[in-house]
């Protein structure tokens, strides 16, 4: 009997030891997925999303995120949720503003937005476009409405414009925590995510269509972390090859997350392919998603030389993080043309003595003429 207990004990120690070694071998984001699963399964922290509907806004509060480590982009605790604004009725609403705040887990104190990696707002394109009988748009692009990210706590669409959804339409939000600086304590936070809207019955707005365009650079999938070579002089070093990796039309590997060495660096990217301008479009809003150490992010009409958007992002001087990333917003709008070339330009300054990770995307909104015509035809 004593012998048997001894074997069981050794077996358990081996299992626990093996599990620990396996856990430690995982990347931070995979470790956090497991930790969150344990916290939520055993009820150690709040695992449910909450919704609060008010006049012309709805606030979603995330489950608790336990901050116990340094989390760079995409590494921290995260939560997803399908949401509806008001399932009890079917009214046309215009989404006009987006805001995320980190708060204490008891929801009484506002915390630093250093703990917000991003909030992604997405529509479900089959439901969204089928409601308007615009089936041809399904699968035409990634169905993201917009993103809030570190340095962009909130933004509003230009006055008079919005993104149309129905009150009982399912949307999707994804929230992820960030922590570039605090290593000496473990604490809990939540994200409060507020969407502002206008009811169509109160005030019809002008529809905008969203699109996200992002910088990406080539790498050699056979030798991804080598960097520039004679064959690929503008190669980047990808953060990893599994996620945020893409292929161009010729099958070349590209990465949307890349490593920046200490010091100043500049990048340029031809965005015309991603913009896919079929006819002229009128641009009204741009919100950038950048990582710390980004200094300046521009959208340029290379054909005319015009700088459409010049985002001078502000970094904290005493810690790692983006303090402010200004958006572009215009009621009048800026015309963009099918036969013009558009370029994204990025300047970064890695002021640390270590490699850091970079990405650069623009969530843009432009006038949606087809949707405008469709809405005007309907008796809503």
């Amino acid at each position: 009997m004593k012998q048997r207990s001894k074997f069981i004990l050794i077996f358990l120690v081996l299992i626990l030891g093996g599990g620990f070694i396996y856990f430690k071998s995982l990347k931070t984001r995979h470790q956090e997925l497991i930790k969150s699963k344990v916290y939520y399964t055993f009820g150690l922290v709040d695992s449910e999303w909450k919704t609060k509907l008010a006049d012309n806004s709805v606030t979603f509060t995330s489950p608790t995120f336990v901050i116990s480590n340094i989390y760079k982009s995409m590494e921290g605790p995260k939560a997803d949720q399908y949401i509806v604004i008001d399932a009890s009725k079917e009214e046309l609403l215009w989404l006009t503003s987006f805001k995320t705040n980190a708060v204490s887990s008891d929801e009484t104190r506002k915390m630093s937005n250093d703990f917000v990696c991003h909030t992604n707002f997405e529509y479900r394109d089959a439901e969204h476009y089928n409601r308007w009988n615009m089936t041809e748009r399904i699968n035409s692009q990634y169905p993201r409405i917009t993103s809030i990210s570190n340095g962009v706590e909130a933004f509003e669409l230009p006055d008079g414009f919005g993104f149309p959804v129905f009150s009982n339409e399912r949307l999707f939000i994804n929230a992820q925590a960030l922590n570039h600086n605090i290593t000496d304590s473990t604490f809990n936070i939540k994200h409060k995510i507020k969407i502002g809207y206008t009811n169509h019955n109160e005030k019809p707005l002008i529809p905008l269509q969203p699109k996200t365009v992002f910088m990406m650079f080539p790498f050699d999938p056979q030798n991804p972390f080598k960097g520039p070579t004679e064959l690929l002089p503008n190669a980047c070093i990808p953060v990893e090859t599994k996620n945020h990796s893409y292929q161009d039309n010729s099958g070349n590997a590209l990465s949307g997350h890349w490593i920046i060495a200490p010091g100043k660096h500049s990048y340029s990217y031809n965005a015309s392919g991603q913009l896919q301008i079929k006819d002229s479009i009128r641009l009204h809003q741009i919100t950038s998603h950048l990582h710390p150490f980004a200094q300046r992010f521009k959208l340029k009409n290379k054909t005319t030389g015009e700088i459409i958007y010049d985002c001078k992002s502000e970094n904290f001087s005493d810690k790692i993080g983006l303090k402010n990333t200004p958006s572009f917003s215009s009621q009048k709008g800026v015309w963009m043309y099918r036969d013009h070339v558009y370029e994204m330009l990025l300047e970064v300054d890695n002021t640390t003595d270590k490699d850091q990770e970079m990405m650069a995307s623009m969530a843009i909104f432009y006038y949606d003429v087809d949707m405008d015509n469709r809405i005007k035809e309907l008796k809503l």
């Binding site: 999303w49 949720q81 509806v84 399932a87 439901e127 009988n133 399904i138």
Partner: protein
């Protein structure tokens, strides 16, 4: 407020705008043959929660993972006789009943959970695609078809109550939740 309430929370999505006014319609006007050669019509589906989607047996890309997800859904609801999945072949010229039957046998598709359906004309296919609010088209060489990975969820009264990208794990989980709501 959340997505975890009841069937009435799921909007009816089978509607068109006629002269600017919203008009609901039912998925109740079709006639296909299943892999066993039985006729499947709206009388068969009435009173059942069911899904409908497109596929074809020689599809090399999205159909195999779609089929695996659907078989998983079938297993989840294997005890619910009021639930059924219908996969309609868009290659009706090549996917004859014999081929559908062989496909079902080869992939161990349980006919109590999933029926593979064959249309008899292009017109039938276009009609069902229109009411399911999806589309398909042959590729440039005419050797393959482009079609979506969405399935439509249809309630016992034959209204569409949701569209789900069955290749996304999160959408499959949502679809299962919604099927339960409609079965309750």
């Amino acid at each position: 407020m959340s997505c975890k309430n009841n069937a009435s929370d799921l909007p009816i999505l089978s509607y068109n705008y006629i002269n600017g006014n919203k008009e609901l319609y039912k998925i109740d006007d079709f006639e296909f043959l299943n892999q066993a050669g039985d006729t499947v019509t709206s009388k068969t589906t009435k009173g059942k929660v069911h899904t409908m989607n497109f596929f074809f047996t020689s599809c090399p890309s999205i159909c195999p993972p779609m089929r695996i997800k659907q078989q998983g859904i079938g297993e989840t609801f294997s005890e619910d006789h009021d639930f059924m999945q219908y996969a309609i072949s868009i290659d009706y010229k090549n996917d004859d009943l014999n081929r559908l039957k062989n496909y079902a046998e080869r992939h161990k598709i349980d006919s109590k959970q999933i029926n593979l359906l064959r249309a008899l004309s292009e017109e039938q296919l276009q009609d069902i695609a229109n009411v399911l609010k999806t589309n398909f088209k042959p590729n440039n060489e005419g050797t393959d078809f482009n079609h979506s990975s969405f399935v439509a969820l249809i309630d016992k009264d034959q209204y569409i109550r949701g569209f789900y990208d069955i290749l996304l794990g999160s959408d499959v989980a949502l679809l299962k939740e919604d099927i339960k709501k409609l079965l309750d």
